[in-house]
């Protein structure tokens, strides 16, 4: 692991992104527009908006970063630049940390915009600190990056990579407690939701929504999400092979 190479990689990923302003706009604006939409869908029941809105602040960064990372690393694999980089003195950890850093930065901007909009313009009623919301959002973004990186190893084309989104994200979305509390699901599904990381992302957001202080549950949820992200990043690193058939 080499800090200079990691930073150079992160800077390169951001530079690539800068040449693609449309993607930046989509990444930053779509979550905001969705929140605005949701606010007026639940115009008559602001409490519902509070619950779902807070959860979505955690889910958006996860989905966006998953998509962006899986496509970006797939492009790296198919364009031959990954093979070139791995034939050069670049550590796998440098590459992965570089990606995580660059997309993490984008996620911070995205979360700042979405959280700010929800709290101060859409009247999202959160009891806890907005900084904690931001922290969870960032961890979620990291998890999304990790999942995207891992999944890109199993996609042969961008077409397949996009199909992984419903395969990996949708089940978590249905089971994370967004639509109905997890303890009211069928026992088997509840048990399944207990092992899916997005459940903890949503639980963490709900802790901030209801409590002024950092609760033990919030700590546990954050640690689970962070731990999952690190674990999947390590798995992703294992899919980067210097020697291929």
């Amino acid at each position: 692991m080499n800090g200079a190479r990691t930073l150079a990689t992160a800077a390169r990923v951001l530079r690539q992104l800068r040449h693609d302003p449309r993607s930046i706009a989509l990444m930053l604006l779509v979550p905001c527009l969705m929140l605005v939409l949701l606010r007026y869908v639940f115009d008559g029941s602001p409490q519902t908006f509070d619950g779902i809105g807070a959860s979505l602040l955690g889910i958006f960064p996860l989905i966006t970063m998953f998509l962006v990372t899986s496509i970006a690393t797939l492009r790296e694999r198919t364009s031959g630049t990954l093979e070139r980089l791995l034939a050069m003195p670049l550590g796998k950890a440098d590459l992965i940390a570089g990606y995580a850093l660059a997309f993490g930065l984008v996620a911070v901007v995205q979360s700042l915009l979405a959280t700010g909009l929800a709290l101060w313009f859409l009247g999202l009623d959160v009891i806890g600190s907005p900084w904690l919301l931001l922290l969870v959002a960032l961890l979620d973004a990291l998890l999304g990056t990790a999942l995207g990186l891992f999944v890109s190893a199993f996609a042969a084309s961008e077409f397949q990579a996009v199909q992984f989104m419903p395969a990996v994200i949708f089940p978590q979305l249905l089971l994370c407690g967004l639509f109905t509390p997890r303890d009211r699901m069928a026992p088997a599904l509840e048990a399944l939701s207990d092992v899916l990381p997005m459940s903890y992302a949503v639980d963490g957001m709900n802790q901030v929504l209801r409590h002024t202080d950092v609760t033990a549950d919030f700590l546990r949820d954050s640690l689970v999400v962070a731990g999952c992200a690190v674990l999947v990043l390590a798995l992703g690193a294992a899919t980067l092979r210097r020697r291929t058939a």
Binding site: N2, A4, R5, A8, T9, A11, R12, R15, Q16, H19, D20, S79, G80, T81, E83, R84, L85, L86, A87, M88, P89, L90, R241, R242, R243, T244, A245
Partner: protein, 333 residues
Amino acid sequence: MMNKAGEAGPGAADGAVPPAALTTPTTSATPATSDTPAPLAASDAPATSHTPAASDTPAIAATALTVVRGDRTVLRGLDFTVPRGRITGLLGPSGCGKTTLMRAIVGTQAQVTGTLDVLSRPAGHPALRSRIGYVTQAPSVYDDLTVRQNLDYFAAVLLPGRAQRDERRTAVARALADVDLTTHADALAGRLSGGQRSRVSLAVALLGTPELLVLDEPTVGLDPVLRRDLWDLFHRIAADRDTTILVSSHVMDEAERCHRLLLLREGELLAEDTPEDLRRRNDTATVEDAFLHLVDAAAARARARTETGARTETETGARTETRTRTRTEETPS
């Protein structure tokens, strides 16, 4: 294997000037093509006539090199050496295993058996990563970065840190000048023409002044002027920077521009020789003819092998034998 003794032929030795070097100008883009008696005599001299200098260990040495991809054996027991500071051409028809061999040398190919030493270390050794420049057949650069941004990034991987900022800047400027893209430095790589993009890919490989350059069909699809310029560049790099170059091609006229040749066909080495010796030994006017001659001979040998195999399998059935003989007579030699 054609002949190991051919290594002592013209163009094989570096350091001390062998007699043959007079007739084989190493800096010229096209080594001498005439078969004058003088170089023949010189190349027939015994191998011990000139003891090479300290940098004598070959850049690449392979023994019984075999590569399996899936259930297919792509390279079968190759033995060869690539001398330092020279341009060695790797030639053969598409699909004969050139890219696989290059990937094995660079250390990105899995399932490699036998011994393969590159710059005196086993291929794929981490210490080799900064000493080898590899240009894949398809340009591997970031299309959504400018030429300079591409080079800046790869330079930062090779020469990381603030302390080496000046070296990086010099390396990038030199690589841009090498491939004649200084005027396009701020263009997006994705907007360049195919030839320009492959030159960006080449520039990346030149960044760290590698001791070994592995170039996979760098001139394919380029116009004649560009091809000549690139070959001039390869010769300049080999001569001035003492870089060993292994370059693959399926265009035989490029073979004449190499100091040494490895001819590959269906995963087997047909010949390892200088272009002059290859022409002389096969009594042909061009390397292309020599190659075709060797390919036909190999195909005939393979045919003979399968036929003897078929004959022994069916015991001594007289009818089978007659049929085999007829078929042999039908096929043109």
